[in-house]
Amino acid sequence: VSGHVGERLSPFLDGELDAREREEVARHVDGCAECARLLEELAAVDRLAAGEPVPAPEGYFDAFAGRVRERIRGASASRRPRVFEPAWLLAAAALVVAVVAPVLLREGPTSAPQSDALVAPAPAAPAASPPAAAVGGTQAKGARVRQERDELRRDKADLKKRAEFAPAPARKPVPGSRPAAPAAPEPAVAPEPAAVAGEEQAYAAEGRVVVPRAEPDAERSAESRPASREREAKAEREGLAAQAARAPDFADAPAESAAAPRLQSAGPSPAFRALLERRAETIAEARGVREAWRAFARGAQGAEADEARVRVIESGLLAYRLSGDRADLELARRDAAAYLKREDAAQPDRVRALLAAAR
């Protein structure tokens, strides 16, 4: 700022100068037309900026809290000991099948672990998280969950003020004792509160968790759960469980489509398996996965290339569901059209179904 009080106009505007400086600047501005005009213009900048709307797709905030919940559950799961992960369990199951198959066969078919009933990558292992472990057995946990849920329901009746744009806090001097906000990357902290999967299920069943029809995570999880079980069963039938024992990560791959074709008998390539493992919960991640599949498809052959091309479309449509951006939809449609023109397209029906679901 060219003028007589220079950069002090900005803190003067904010009331952040001490009494002596404030008086100096005020006296100067009173007698200086140029600084008075600058001060007015700076204030006008603030007013103009303060009125700037923040664009968000329609319905974006309806699903937001649910996506945060899923992310917390996912993060909690990833911090648990590896021994509870389904990949490990499936690998162990395969080993058990190989060693003591006759015994198991007498007792019925080997079942995949059901611990991922809520979220594919998040096995519900309450004993692995400290607060849940402190609660005790399942019954005690259930009682606690019911109690918390009832308490919260009563509380919600009292919570009439639901304005999400809460009024800005009054400006005031801040004593130095306030704990600073955690910087990113985050510092070491006390153990995080653990989300108990069972209580969430109970809430979801009663409709407490409001999930709009178009809520992407709900759609994805609803689609993927049965598909996941079917895929695991199929994997066992085809002997892939033994392969999973050698490469346990593959067993944990997300099964977004039950119609995925049988891959080469030699098994999926490491790069393909790595891509199968990538999860997308945000717009950026979905777009990233889409482009990763696209890049993979360029260098792949056979069934893997075909599956990759379909995954480009699938993750593109997921990006559209998350973003509401029509550019994502148009790109997915172009990808689908290109795929359906291919003579070697092995899954045209699956792609048509994806397109139909996106309408």
Binding site: V1, E7, S10, E16, L38, E41, L42, A43, A44, V45, D46, R47, L48, A49, A50, P53, V54, P55, A56, F61, F64, A65, R67, V68, R69, R71, I72, A75, P131, E148, L152, D155, K156, L159, R162, A163, E164, P169, R171, V174, R178, P179, A180, A181, P182, A184, P185, E186, V189, A190, P193, A195, E199, Y203, T282, I283, A284, R287, S323, D325
Partner: protein, 195 residues
């Protein structure tokens, strides 16, 4: 923290994710707005806003119940947003063009056009200032945080807050000068209407 929210936070500290979800619903727009205004792109702001709540969940035991929750989680979001802007990934990805125009609320059509143009220029100007300055400007002008709060939250000195804010305002003033007339007139009308 109002009593209802205090209760929710205490429940969330005990591991009640539904209580935390209610907290998220109360503050989600504001946190997203902070992230968006710093990052200027929806996809990255979505990611940062979510992560801010995840961090808040993890650090909930450190939160001072004697203080409002919103500035705390907004500072987490601002920190994450600044880090995101500095990341190599963000540097490789150019900022998208501004979003579609939102309808003006001005009664006068001409003023409406000018408002829309001013918003477009404002958007471009905000994208044009360095992210560190933008973060300070957002926390001050939109969140009305004190210099001390901003300094604590971003881990910088009050002097740095002061200079970044002054530079940001000056750059914006120069860019927006042709459009400051209506804002100045409105300010004049408001002050003229006071007793």
């Amino acid at each position: 923290v109002d009593p209802g929210e205090r209760d929710l936070i205490e429940k969330a500290r005990g591991g009640n994710l539904f209580a935390f979800e209610e907290i998220v619903r109360r503050h989600q727009r504001r946190v997203f707005a902070v992230a968006y205004r710093i990052l200027r792109r929806h996809d990255a702001a979505d990611d940062v806003a979510q992560e801010a709540f995840v961090r808040a969940w993890r650090h909930l035991r450190e939160f001072d119940l004697g203080r409002p929750f919103s500035p705390w989680v907004c500072r987490i979001a601002a920190n994450l947003a600044v880090n995101e802007v500095r990341s190599p990934r963000a540097r490789e990805t150019p900022l998208p063009e501004g979003h579609a125009e939102t309808p003006s609320s001005a009664a006068d059509p001409l003023e409406g056009v000018l408002d829309a143009e001013a918003r477009r220029v404002l958007d471009a100007a905000l994208r044009g200032i360095p992210e560190e300055q933008r973060a300070v400007f957002v926390l001050r002008v939109f969140e009305e945080q004190s210099y001390q709060e901003i300094a604590d939250g971003l881990g910088i000195s009050i002097g740095t807050v002061m200079s970044r804010l002054a530079r940001a305002r000056e750059r914006l003033r120069v860019a927006l000068r042709p459009y400051l007339g209506p804002a100045l007139r409105r300010a004049g009308g408001e002050s003229g209407g006071r007793p």
